[in-house]
């Protein structure tokens, strides 16, 4: 039987991986860079920035005049400093759904009997916080705590409550059971980031290197299709990216106690689709340049902003509208979103399918553009 395009694809992929394995510097950098980044962010984490207008929800289950009065004061204080946008939900279920969908970052629940409790000094509010972004988690927690502290002072001074009565205690609760490590929520982003480095930069570099060395011409002079060359190299990068991702997951589990709640196969599918999207994008971006240095610069230009606006460190919803639009044009946003939901929140495919679908379409479209561009690039 005649060996076809997929056999050649495999041969190119195997060659690229063997070559990569043999050059110790490349191998070490692939292993060390994500590890260094993970250690760096894992230990120094987190610091709050100038985050504003964070959407939070209030669910009032009490309806007493006192509760309404406290809620009004809370809403006024929360919104006056532009820190929060306070939304009111009539049911806790609706609010929880909004929290899971990332529409809000916290729910402040005033349970039945809050008003009565306040009079006797036993008032408590429950706050459910989205821990998906640790920086935001800290800001939200600190902000809400601070508002209630101020409210307590106001209540005891101006409302005439006794010294001990009127104290509202705040019970914070996360979406994930137990006391998850805050790094647990950064890990999915790091894994996706390591794929960007492996996939996007690696593929561009391998093409430009082969062009400079002349070995690409060597391949083109053999009876191998352009499709096999492009896809073989893309697959080699995919394997590298997956190895890198797996390493980070293992280290995150060992060093930071990160837990995987989701389905491994679904996580692998998202990683694979993410890498394909990155490599397609990388190939398009570098098909216009012929040398390694230019390819490196172009990759850096795409990589750096993509890492910072794709929701790894900072929620996409908190970005200015124009930047949010750019983030939604990049595959990393969908990869991070889907991967994080599956890994941390055990989201099923039915919950992340829009992200998965975008990644599939992204891969198909970028490769459909990249392969003819590659053809043009090598024959000019």
């Amino acid at each position: 039987m005649q060996k076809g395009s997929f056999y050649h694809l495999y041969i190119v992929m195997k060659k690229d991986l063997t070559e990569f394995y043999r050059v110790r510097a490349r191998l070490v950098s692939m292993i060390m860079l994500p590890i260094l980044l993970m250690l760096l962010f894992g230990y120094m984490f987190p610091s709050s920035g100038s985050i504003t207008h964070i959407p939070i929800a209030i669910v009032n289950q009490d309806q007493s005049a006192t509760a309404i009065q406290v809620i009004n004061s809370f809403t006024y204080m929360a919104q006056s400093g532009n820190a929060f946008n306070v939304l009111t939900y009539t049911s806790l279920a609706q609010a929880q759904q909004a929290l899971l969908q990332g529409k809000i970052y916290a729910i402040v629940i005033f349970r039945p009997g809050f008003g009565e409790g306040l009079k006797s000094g036993a008032a408590a509010v429950q706050v459910i916080v989205d821990q998906m972004n640790p920086t935001l988690d800290q800001v939200v927690t600190g902000g809400i705590q601070s508002i209630f502290s101020q409210l307590n002072v106001q209540l005891s001074l101006s409302q005439g409550f006794p010294a001990q009565a009127g104290t509202i205690s705040v019970n914070f609760q996360g979406l994930i059971p137990g006391s998850p490590s805050s790094f647990e929520f950064l890990a999915p982003g790091f894994i996706a980031m390591s794929m960007v480095m492996g996939g996007l930069a690696g593929l561009a570099m391998t093409f430009s290197r082969e062009r400079e060395l002349g070995t690409l011409d060597g391949m083109l002079m053999t009876p191998i299709s352009r499709f096999s060359i492009v896809m073989g190299k893309a697959m080699a990068q995919a394997v590298r990216g997956i190895i890198s991702g797996v390493m980070i997951v293992i280290l995150a589990i060992i060093l930071f106690g990160v837990k995987i709640y989701g389905n491994i196969f679904l996580m692998s599918l998202i990683i694979f689709l993410g890498i394909l999207s990155f490599t397609g994008l990388g190939l398009i971006a570098t098909s216009f340049v012929s040398d390694q240095e230019s390819a490196q610069m172009i990759m850096l230009m795409i990589e750096m902003p993509m890492i910072f606006i794709s929701g790894i460190f900072y929620p996409v919803l908190q970005l200015p509208l124009w930047l949010r639009d750019i983030a939604y044009m990049l595959p990393l946003s969908y990869t991070v979103s889907a991967f994080r939901s599956v890994m941390v929140m055990n989201a099923p495919l039915s919950a992340v399918w829009p992200d998965v679908l975008v990644l599939i379409v992204y891969s198909l479209v970028t490769f459909a553009i990249a392969i003819p561009l590659f053809q043009k690039m090598v024959t000019k």
Binding site: E19, G214, T222, P223
Partner: protein, 234 residues
């Protein structure tokens, strides 16, 4: 431009920098698509039957088509697999070629540790892996030490003796004088003169191909800029 290379001959293609030799060879190798005209290699159209052409030719470029981190065996296996060679036949062929190019003792060492001469010998082995009928050699002795140059030239003669057609481009006129039977001198995308090496020399009344070359292309220096930069006002 029109020319024909006969089977089994060593055809020398020479010209100053920017003459268009590399472009012509890249078209014959099917890497570049001609904007007009026709070309055939072993009877196969270089545009319509590119795959057949690629199976017929073995190319030794000025740039070595080898992967430094891989061993000679891995390099040859990679390229052999791209020609869909049967694994047993490929293995036997690799051993035969490594023996031919005197690299059997270093067959498991990374190519990156090789001298330029060793790399060029392996590069030649790579080009012969799939038993091509036509071998295209673009500056095959560039940058080699005298011993390696001698070895490469002797090997080119052996290729002719095996019945292969050899297309050789080089700036070394001595090499052309020694090896080529038919010589084409080209400049600015045109073939200025083509013919049997000795006929060319007698036609110009000189003893060396170098003198024929200089009388046709002139003695002024050629400072050719690359096409890309030229178009940008440089």
């Amino acid at each position: 431009m029109s020319f024909k290379v006969s089977k089994g001959e060593i055809f020398g293609l020479v010209g100053p920098n920017g003459a268009g030799k590399s472009t012509l060879l890249k078209m014959l190798c099917t890497v570049l698509r001609p904007t007009s005209g026709k070309g055939y290699v072993e009877g196969h159209d270089i545009v319509k039957e590119a795959t057949e052409v690629r199976r017929s030719i073995g190319v030794v470029q000025e740039k070595l088509i080898l992967y430094s981190p891989l061993t000679p065996i891995e390099n040859l296996e990679f390229f052999g697999n791209l020609y869909n060679m049967d694994s047993k036949i490929l293995r036997a062929k690799i051993m035969e070629l490594l023996d031919d190019v005197k690299l059997m003792t270093v067959k498991d060492r990374p190519v990156g540790t090789f001298s330029t001469g060793m790399r060029q010998r392996l590069n030649i082995a790579r080009a012969l892996l799939h038993d091509p009928r036509v071998v295209i050699l673009d500056e095959p002795t560039n940058g080699l030490d005298p011993q390696s140059v001698r070895w490469v030239r002797d090997f080119i003669i052996k290729l002719k003796e095996r019945g292969l057609t050899v297309v050789l481009t080089t700036h070394d006129m001595y090499e052309i004088d020694e090896l080529a039977e038919v010589v084409a001198i080209m400049d600015r995308g045109q073939i200025l003169e083509i013919g049997n090496k000795d006929e060319l020399k007698s036609r110009h009344g000189v003893d060396k191909i170098e003198d024929v070359f200089l009388s046709l292309t002139g003695r002024e220096l050629r400072d050719e800029l690359s096409g890309r930069l030229r178009g940008r006002g440089w």
